[in-house]
């Protein structure tokens, strides 16, 4: 059985979606390969857990496939898919917090960096081990500061400052007004600035 939808083909994503709706399941693979990395990074920065992020992105792609008939092309497929990822991430985060509260485990407990070193890109050729270590430490610190934000502030920072979505796209994804998005972004950035103030000073001092 094929998915029926009424989407006009305006760009490549839309034409692929149309093919999917007409029964070409394998066409969906193009969309998966195109957006999996971006969605995975978004989920990873929100959840700060690679395995959870992988699960969330898989669930999101399945949800997107099921919801394809409802995609009208009002936003880009990327923004539409990102909204699904954010929703799944939000739910996963809630479940994690509940579980952590029950088990009295801190979500900010020190992590084993060795488990995560392989998921990142290979280091640059001109980068020394020391520099790499410093970078990793800095990134951990930044992620730690992101983790201190509440879910709604974390989402806007990840979507805007890490993923680069526009205010309009973020408003649509999160179903918030433009003013609310800007307000949340201002508070989130201010909180991050405070959290990273000693790192920033150190960086400025060493520069």
């Amino acid at each position: 059985m094929s998915l029926q939808c009424g989407v006009e083909s305006r760009d490549e994503d839309l034409s692929i979606i149309t093919r999917c709706c007409n029964g070409d399941i394998e066409a969906f693979q193009v969309l998966v390969e195109r957006y999996q990395k971006r969605m995975l990074n978004m989920a990873y920065r929100v959840l700060d857990d690679f395995e959870d992020a992988c699960d969330v992105v898989q669930e999101s792609f399945i949800s997107a496939y099921k919801a394809l008939p409802g995609f009208r092309g009002d936003s880009t497929f990327s923004a539409w898919l990102a909204a699904i990822v954010i929703n799944h991430s939000r739910n996963r985060l809630k479940r994690k917090k509940i579980r952590a509260r029950r088990e009295s485990v801190s979500l900010d407990a020190p992590r084993d960096p060795d488990n995560e070193s392989s998921v990142f890109e290979l280091p640059a050729e001109n980068e020394s081990a020391h520099e790499r270590l410093e970078k990793m430490e800095l990134e951990r610190r930044v992620q730690h500061c992101i983790n201190t934000l509440s879910a709604e502030y974390r989402e806007v920072v990840v979507l805007r400052d890490i993923q680069g979505y526009s205010y309009e796209e973020i408003s649509t994804m999160l179903r918030l007004s433009d003013g609310t998005v800007k307000s949340r972004l201002f508070r989130a950035r201010d909180a991050l600035r405070e959290c990273l103030s000693d790192v920033i000073v150190h960086s400025e001092g060493s520069a």
């Binding site: 059985m1 999996q36 792609f61 890109e121 400052d161």
Partner: protein, 333 residues
């Protein structure tokens, strides 16, 4: 511009989302404020750190795992998938439970309803066979219904006392003793009072119009033997009420005259009902005064009687007097 105001705009300034005017304000302020300059630089550094976060790479099996799930989903949407979904355990249980409930309901009502029918037949049989019983039995109740006794009569039930000027109409049982012969109020007052309180909301013995015997007839048709049995053993004053219909040209004047006649005969008006085209009196009076009553009423208008007793005797009888006049037609100019 104050530092606190500028601080709120720094985030948009770094974003490039400020309008021209606001951007100029921030730039002008920052030039002369080292604190805001420092804040701006820190904010920029923060955002650079965020932008420079390394990206994670999806595992090599990621796409295939997703597509495997997508293919399973697509398969499930097929016809067999639809049937399979329909026959999932949850639906099966729900269907089975529904069937059980329906079956139980059918069995239950089949078991109960025959008993109900049997009980009803027994009840009718006992009512029909209890002709010689005395006391508070169903047949006596039915007899009382036919004569109008001992029923909760709610509605416009006026005694002579209640017809005094300015008095409210009270809802009294029909048999409330009230033999006072005080003067009646005007006809207009009666109409006004009856309009205020409305008409009876409970079954009344006296009919709204002619056809008292029709009511008797309907009762008789339901329980033929009971009425006859009740009539045989009950005193004269508990027999079906006597009905007098008076047709006149002027309802108001006729009603006043009837009122006067009843007062002179010491009749007790137990109930009064005023409608658009007629008025109804339920009256308790001496049977020996019936002739006088009819003679005087004949002078007012066309008279018709029903259930008049053959022999008058010396009893108290219930009489329903219905005065009617043709409805006035409104003449439009």
């Amino acid at each position: 511009m104050s530092c606190s105001s500028v601080k709120r705009l720094l985030s948009g300034y770094v974003d490039g989302s400020l309008g021209n005017e606001e951007r100029a304000l921030v730039e002008r302020h920052v030039l002369s404020c080292p604190v805001c300059t420092s804040d701006l630089e820190k904010l920029r550094s923060t955002m650079i750190l965020l932008h420079n976060l390394k990206e994670v790479e999806p595992p090599p099996w990621f796409t295939q795992k997703i597509m495997a799930q997508v293919r399973r989903e697509a398969q499930a949407r097929g016809i067999w998938g639809t049937i399979r979904n329909f026959l999932t355990l949850r639906i099966q249980v729900a269907v089975f439970a529904s069937i059980c409930i329906v079956a139980f309901a059918v069995i239950f009502f089949k078991a109960v309803i025959p008993d109900l029918y049997q009980g009803k037949n027994e009840l009718h049989q006992s009512v029909a066979d209890s002709g010689d019983r005395h006391g508070a039995s169903r047949e006596e109740d039915l007899a009382k219904v036919s004569t109008g006794e001992d029923l909760p009569q709610v509605g416009v039930s006026r005694t002579r006392q209640g017809r005094e000027k300015g008095e409210k109409i009270s809802n009294t049982p029909i048999r409330e003793p009230s033999q006072q012969k005080e003067g009646s109020s005007g006809h207009e007052e009666r109409l006004a009072k009856s309009t205020e309180t409305g008409t009876a909301g409970a079954p009344s013995v006296g009919p709204a119009g002619e056809g008292k015997t029709e009511e008797d007839g309907s009762l008789k048709s339901q329980v033929p033997s009971l009425i006859e049995a009740a009539a045989k053993r009950t005193p004269l004053h508990l027999t079906p009420p006597i009905s007098i219909s008076l047709r006149t040209n002027n309802l108001a004047d006729s009603s006043a005259e009837v009122d006067n006649i009843l007062k002179k005969l010491n009749a007790n008006i137990t109930r009064y009902q005023a409608l658009t085209d007629n008025e109804i009196y339920d009256v308790e009076m001496r049977s020996q005064d019936l002739t006088t009553l009819t003679d005087r009423l004949k002078k007012i208008g066309d008279l018709r009687t029903k259930n008049m007793p053959a022999g008058l005797g010396e009893n108290t009888v219930n009489v329903t007097i219905t005065i009617s006049a043709p409805a006035k037609r409104q003449v439009t100019p």
